[in-house]
């Protein structure tokens, strides 16, 4: 593998995705904002179903583009042991990391919204609102197309830079990149744990919408719908969290992850949803529906806080201390070094 050629190919790929992606980013943000308005304004709420279909189409198109970019990156991102020249493998970046997390959540809510059957018309504005807010946030804040995978690109370009320079620096950079490849990007947990959690987050958004309808209209049918989506979300939440445990034990050995901010919030979210499922067994008991509704609402608020905690509370799971938006700068900084070494 020639570091300079690889570097140029990655720059070309990012530059190729950026103009199409920037257009998609803007389009998704606009459609997301319009979706929020349609969900909020009663006079045009009848178009909620169509708006959600349009939003989902844009989000799927964006996901296809991201998938193509990841596939190309997989081809390009080889990890080579500097002393022997042997390739240890490709870097397989999952589609739900870094700047793509919120985007995936928006996509799942939109798709689940389209799949709803029970009380579809009543739930549609809420699902549209949720998907719209997440889509706007997922494009304007995270910028998955115009600032793709900042940490991965930054780390890999740094590795290429060190590889071109050679010596002990290259060996150190290889150790870091290979460790990230094995225990993070290519680890099977990474391909199962986060998507299960995002699937549950999507289902729990719909459950929350149904809970709000139950509180407003006081009709037990909404409660049943809320429960059905909650049990689907709880199942994948439990599976996702369980699968994260041995991964954390193996990959974060010696690191401060137990009772860290994100772990705490995740435990809190799980115990609250467990409490909700237990409390609703006594739904027919006097006044219990209020407690059940309260626990359901609090659980969802904690879900949102759990997601936000990733960016606010430092720790093993966290992006709080990461320098977001460094990838493009790193590409620029590395250009001179790699060009010089390759010349």
């Amino acid at each position: 593998m020639d570091p300079k050629t690889t570097y140029i190919a990655i720059v070309n790929l990012v530059e190729a995705v950026r103009p199409i992606g920037a257009g998609l980013e803007a389009a998704i943000a606009v459609v997301g904002a319009i979706s929020v308005l349609i969900a909020l304004i009663p006079a045009i709420r009848a178009y909620a179903g169509k708006a959600l279909a349009v939003l989902a189409t844009f989000l799927v198109a964006g996901e296809v583009l991201l998938g193509w970019m990841h596939w190309r990156l997989y081809d390009l991102m080889l990890v080579v042991e500097p002393s022997t020249g042997l390739t240890t493998g490709h870097v397989a970046a999952p589609l739900w990391i870094e700047s793509e997390k919120l985007y995936v959540w928006a996509l799942l809510v939109a798709v689940m919204g389209l799949c709803m059957r029970r009380q579809r018309d009543e739930l549609m504005p809420g699902a549209l609102f949720g998907a719209g807010v997440l889509a706007v946030g997922g494009t304007l804040l995270s910028k998955p197309f115009s600032n793709p995978l900042p940490n991965l690109l930054s780390q890999y370009v740094g590795y290429l830079q060190s590889l071109a320079a050679g010596g002990m620096t290259a060996e150190g950079a290889f150790q870091g990149m290979e460790s990230a490849r094995q225990f993070y990007y290519n680890a099977w947990f990474m391909w199962v744990h986060p998507p299960l959690l995002f699937f549950s987050y999507g289902a729990l958004v719909i459950s929350f919408v149904a809970t709000l309808l139950m509180i407003r209209h006081r009709h037990s049918a909404y409660e049943t719908t809320a429960y059905r989506w909650a049990r689907l979300g709880y199942l994948s939440l439990t599976a996702g969290m369980l699968l994260g445990f041995p991964w954390a034990l193996m990959s974060w050995q010696g690191e401060a992850w137990w009772w860290s901010g994100k772990v705490n919030m995740s435990i809190m979210m799980w115990v609250l949803y467990t409490a909700y499922l237990h409390a609703r067994l006594y739904l027919r008991t006097r006044g219990m529906w209020k407690a059940v509704a309260a626990v359901a609402v609090i659980s969802f608020l904690i879900l949102v806080l759990t997601y936000v905690a990733t960016y606010v509370v430092p720790g093993a799971h966290s992006y709080a201390s990461a320098e977001m938006g460094t990838a493009i700068a790193a590409l620029g900084d590395a250009a001179g070094a790699i060009s010089g070494a390759g010349a």
């Binding site: 037990s220 199942l235 439990t238 699968l243 009772w259 860290s260 435990i267 409490a275 237990h278 739904l283």
Partner: protein, 238 residues
């Protein structure tokens, strides 16, 4: 069962559920406070994660969580096998389990050992519950969603107890992955059975779509959930 006994049983079940919810809420509050502390400590104390502060924090969090988990498993032991054993027997067995755990803690001086003994005994009880439920002891004579739900409930609680054992005692053991895998499989299969028994049952009854309940605050005594065949939306875990 007489009417008074039925009411007592319902009140008993109701309060077990309330205790479960309260303990889960307490664990949630602990986690929330813990998050706040981590957020503060990371900013206020240089190198907090690498220093003794983090170790002391983890020890304190474990110490607070231990009795909550113990109560949770205790309630589970009183609640899940209630259709198979008498309440008196369950209380006696639970008391003996707590005593065994306390003795182990006192003898070894390690809370982890006491918890591990207690959880191991709870796992044995849960295995017995699952086996008896599958065998149909004091249950329906054919495989309906009722038995599936109960089996699911027993399995998911068994998975929870096994996961507790992994966290408490097996994190650095070669047994970690096998026991964890069993815990994960039991929990997930149990959850699927408990949630979707009506769809998986061999002999299906027409599922009732809604759990009707009163919106008013009229006085009422605590009512236990109807049997699963009548109330397919119940997760059947209590």
């Amino acid at each position: 069962m007489s009417t008074i006994e039925e009411i007592r049983q319902r009140v008993w079940d109701f309060w077990l559920t309330i205790v479960t919810v309260a303990v889960l809420a307490a664990l949630g509050v602990q986690s929330f406070i813990g998050t706040g502390y981590v957020w503060w400590a990371q900013r206020a104390i240089p190198e907090w994660e690498a220093g003794p502060g983090y170790a002391a924090y983890v020890e304190l969090m474990n110490l607070i969580a231990a009795p909550l988990v113990l109560v949770l498993v205790l309630v589970m032991g009183l609640c899940v096998p209630k259709r198979l054993f008498s309440r008196r027997a369950l209380i006696l067995v639970s008391g003996a389990m707590v005593a065994a755990g306390m003795i182990a803690w006192a003898v070894t001086g390690k809370l982890e050992t006491g918890l591990a003994i207690y959880l191991s005994l709870a796992a044995i009880i849960q295995v017995a519950v699952v086996v008896l439920t599958v065998a149909g002891v004091r249950g329906p004579s054919y495989l309906t969603e009722g038995r599936l739900t109960k089996t699911g409930s027993g399995l998911l609680h068994l998975g929870f107890v096994l996961f507790g054992i992994v966290v408490v005692a097996l994190q650095r053991s070669s047994w970690m992955m096998p026991v964890f895998s069993a815990a994960a499989i039991f929990s997930l299969v149990g959850t699927v059975l408990a949630f979707y028994a009506s769809r998986l049952a061999w002999h299906r009854s027409t599922p009732r779509e809604e759990t009707a309940f009163e919106w008013s605050d009229e006085p009422d005594y605590p009512e236990s959930p109807k049997s699963v065949s009548e109330n397919p939306d119940s997760n059947g875990s209590m």
